[in-house]
């Protein structure tokens, strides 16, 4: 192939860029390549044990491909006042970014994305800008208008659909307040994105694949989970093209709304709390999936399908060679069993309503149709079974801004943008990134108690703490340091006993009012009570 840009092919730079792109592609798709190589080895008989088909690769970190000099040069260009006003970058910037985005750092690409997609660098990302440049940028940043919407907390999806219907194409920033609550501003808006993220994960919507339990079991009534269980990340559930029913129409609407919400979250720099799978991020970025991508969201199914595929290919290879029929038959056994004895129906495993094939719908999988079976299951799982849902998602997304703008990022980076990142909370880091004021300093005993308590928090307690203070259970890209405004802890004054008070927050300012509790245990008790019982409404305090 060639680089997808207008660069002169006779230039010496072209060959170097092409080589770098090939290397980067090899690195990114190393799992696919090694899996395919292992599959071929099995087909030719070099490998005879199906267990050897398993692959475990380690990839070179993405940062190794970054060119510091090119990144600096791009940053200079993006800070040029003329470029900012005219929104017209030099050709080398756009061409290199479209052909070899991996040459630039994630932060530079983020700024480039903001500039090309929205026309300016938003003030929320001040932390990512150079210190020297922030002074200049501040005076030039245009002020965004804000549009306020009132939503029903108990019917979040319906409210969100109405909001997006009238707001998706607007450039104004979305602000949310809840019915019968007086709180407004950043905190309620952050929580809106969190609530809708959780709502999308309910299994009743029929959107996602998940761990499936038996039919009509007692478990479903008592211990059944309301949410989809997908430990490897969410991926769309296959829906058959042969069946057009009202329930699928609802599913498509939800994917359309999901596209709008995701795009809006990226645009306004809000954090979503929804764990998409790597394969779904690849779909968002416009990449094609194959059988090896199934491994990222359903490793058991992927392993079995890969083994079946290897067996079918080997059978074909043996038939094309001069081997006899007896050898062919004896070689095609799956872990000591004939394929027929597995009693696998020619249907999509786990989804009985999906029509895999009209002709074979009553057959069992056998050595004769094994290859066809694998092909149909893969197609249903990652192509035709989810094509319409993906199309709905894309159309929703494109109403806010073009989805192709995201292609400068990798799937890991896209996940960071959407869902923030998990931060390690060690003592020195907490002291550096938290501001103490109005009666507290970094060495005050209550402050030290607080820092120790939140360090000892488990994962879900930490998430509850973050949601209590900021409205979102996750931190933005960059972690605690990127929180804007900075997390601030102040002394809460009261005429009564401090130990009877509860902490309170101003989520718009990430502002925690903390009474001076007498002991660490008392602080933990009151803090845990506040972050668990103090959710669910915004009122003035």
């Amino acid at each position: 192939g060639k680089l997808p840009c207008k660069l002169d092919r006779s230039s010496p730079s072209y060959d170097i860029l092409f080589m770098l792109k090939v290397l980067e592609g090899l690195n990114r798709y190393s799992f696919h390549l090694v899996s395919d190589e292992r599959n071929r080895a099995f087909v030719h008989g070099s490998i005879t044990d199906l267990d050897d088909l398993k692959v475990d690769v380690s990839v070179v970190p993405q940062q190794e491909f970054v060119s510091a000099k090119l990144t600096d040069k791009l940053e200079q260009q993006m800070h040029d006042p003329l470029v900012l006003r005219s929104r017209c970058l030099p050709l080398w910037c756009t061409e290199l970014m479209s052909a070899c985005p991996f040459l630039f750092s994630f932060e530079a690409r983020w700024k480039y994305f903001q500039l090309t997609a929205f026309g300016s660098l938003t003030p929320q990302h001040g932390n990512m800008m150079d210190t020297s440049g922030s002074g200049v940028m501040t005076e030039r940043v245009p002020s965004f208008s804000r549009k306020k919407f009132k939503v029903d907390r108990d019917n979040i999806l319906v409210s969100a659909a109405k909001v997006m219907q009238s707001h998706a194409r607007s450039n104004a920033m979305l602000e949310v307040e809840y019915e019968e609550e007086v709180g407004t501003g950043l905190g309620p808006t952050m929580e809106f994105y969190t609530l809708i993220s959780h709502e999308f994960q309910k299994s009743g919507l029929g959107m996602w694949r998940g761990e499936l339990s038996g039919e009509a079991g007692l478990d479903n009534v008592h211990g059944g989970s309301v949410f989809v269980v997908a430990p490897n990340g969410l991926f769309p559930k296959p829906w058959s093209t042969h069946v057009d029913c009202s329930s699928f129409s609802e599913v498509n609407k939800q994917f359309h709304l999901l596209g709008q919400v995701v795009a809006k979250a990226v645009k306004d720099n809000r954090i979503l709390d929804i764990p998409f799978s790597k394969a779904f991020y690849r779909l968002i970025l416009g990449q094609e999936l194959n059988i090896y991508d199934i491994h990222s969201f359903d490793p058991e199914l992927a392993m079995t399908l890969m083994e079946f595929k290897a067996l079918a290919a080997r059978r074909k290879y043996l038939e094309s060679s001069s081997s006899g029929d007896c050898k062919s038959t004896s070689d095609l056994s799956y872990r000591g069993c004939r394929i027929e004895d597995l009693a696998i129906e020619f249907a999509l495993p786990g989804y009985p309503e999906y029509v895999l094939s009209l002709e074979n719908s009553l057959d069992n999988v056998s050595a004769d149709n094994l290859e066809q079976y694998v092909s149909f299951v893969v197609d249903a799982t990652i192509r035709s079974g989810i094509a319409r849902q993906l199309e709905a998602f894309k159309s929703g997304f494109n109403e806010v801004f073009p989805l192709s703008m995201l292609q400068v990022f990798s799937e890991d980076e896209l996940e960071r943008l959407l869902c923030g990142e998990q931060d390690t909370w060690d003592f020195a880091k907490l002291v550096d990134h938290i501001k103490f004021d109005h009666g507290y300093t970094s060495s005050s005993p209550p402050v030290i108690n607080l820092l120790e308590v939140i360090q000892e928090f488990e994962g879900h307690q930490r998430r509850a703490f973050l949601q209590f203070i900021t409205g979102s259970p996750r931190l933005p890209p960059g972690g605690l340091a990127a929180l804007n405004p900075k997390l601030t802890v102040v002394r809460k004054h009261n005429s009564n006993e401090a130990d009877d008070d509860l902490p309170s927050v101003m989520t718009c300012a990430n502002y925690l009012k903390l009474p001076p509790y007498s002991s660490k245990d008392k602080m933990r008790e009151k803090l845990l009570y506040a972050i668990t019982e103090g959710q669910g409404s915004f009122h003035l305090s």
Partner: protein, 313 residues
């Protein structure tokens, strides 16, 4: 078989489960019994006999199996209902054949192989695994005696009916709990061969579960006296005979399994070498990639960058 018609044939897993039901009925095993509920073919009730020559011998242990909707691509989950001192009751147990470890499951396994493995796992140490216990031998033996008296109470009336039916049939087959005719010292010595034989059994039944293999090795290493060697050899032979005997009752699809038995050591040896080679290959691949990337990057910085930028300016 009239009940078969009631099952929902829309789910692709049903055909496989029905085949297993049929096979279980046509080739019953003296060591266990299992059948699905009439109203839900994805939920089975089972009972296993405690393995011979162990503190569980004579015990009848009931349990429930929940098959997933995408069976046999995913493993079932298991829950014991009779107290045994080895597994907690009414709690899903963690084994390499259960849904706690879906990465170890293979579609060629079945409810039958899972129950054979479960029997073989009973004398092994729990090791703190989820749902596992490590009671004393005397307590386990007392629980084994108690397990025969009455089946456990669980769930709806239909479930209880199936449980009672299974218990009745198992009672008619099961030999009584053996009496303690020897003293403590002999009893303790006797445990080692039994444990080893059981591990061997598990190894063959499940096609080489790593847990059983490692347990077998550790037991061998602990042997203090050469005098016991002949006794152990006898038990190993006995175990193999027993294994072959059990498998001869299975249908044609199971006949392939005993082939693994004659050479239990070979798979371990064979596995080591390819793994080592693969690691070296992957390491070389990664290193080559990194070196090439770094070299090209340096070359690019020195020459390409200046030329390219200068041209554009």
């Amino acid at each position: 078989m009239e009940a078969t018609a009631k099952y929902n044939r829309g789910n692709p897993a049903v055909k496989r489960i029905l085949q297993e039901v049929k096979e279980m009925q046509s080739n019953p095993s003296p060591d266990f019994m299992a059948m699905p509920l009439e109203e839900d073919i994805f939920e089975w009730q089972f009972a296993i006999l405690g393995p011979r020559d162990s503190e569980f011998e004579g015990g009848i242990y009931h349990g429930r199996i929940q098959l997933p909707s995408d069976y046999p691509f995913k493993p079932p989950s298991f829950m014991l209902l009779t107290p045994s001192g080895r597994f907690e009751i009414q709690k899903k147990i963690c084994l390499s054949i259960s849904n706690y470890h879906p990465e170890h499951w293979q579609p060629s396994w079945s409810v039958r192989t899972a129950l054979v493995a479960l029997i073989a796992f009973m004398p092994t140490p729990g090791g703190g695994a989820l749902g596992s216990l490590d009671f004393k031998k005397e307590d386990r033996r007392a629980l084994a005696i108690k397990s025969r008296e009455t089946p456990p109470k669980f769930g709806s009336a239909e479930r209880q009916k199936v449980i009672d039916e299974i218990h009745e049939q198992m009672l008619s087959r099961a030999p009584p709990v053996p009496q303690l005719l020897t003293n403590e010292t002999n009893e303790e010595t006797n445990q080692l061969p039994a444990s080893d034989a059981s591990d061997e059994h598990a190894h063959k039944a499940v096609g080489g579960v790593n847990t059983a293999g490692s347990n077998s090795d550790s037991v061998n290493n602990d042997l203090p006296r050469p005098d016991s060697e002949s006794e152990i050899v006898q038990h190993i032979v006995e175990g193999r005979t027993e294994g072959v005997s059990n498998h001869s009752r299975a249908n044609l699809s199971r006949e392939n399994i005993p082939r693994v038995a004659p050479t239990p050591q070979n798979p371990v040896v064979a596995i080591q070498k390819p793994k080592h080679d693969r690691l070296l290959t992957l390491a070389a691949f990664g290193l080559t990639l990194a070196i090439m990337a770094l070299v090209i990057k340096k070359f690019f910085k020195i020459n390409g960058l200046a030329g390219y930028i200068e041209g554009k300016f």
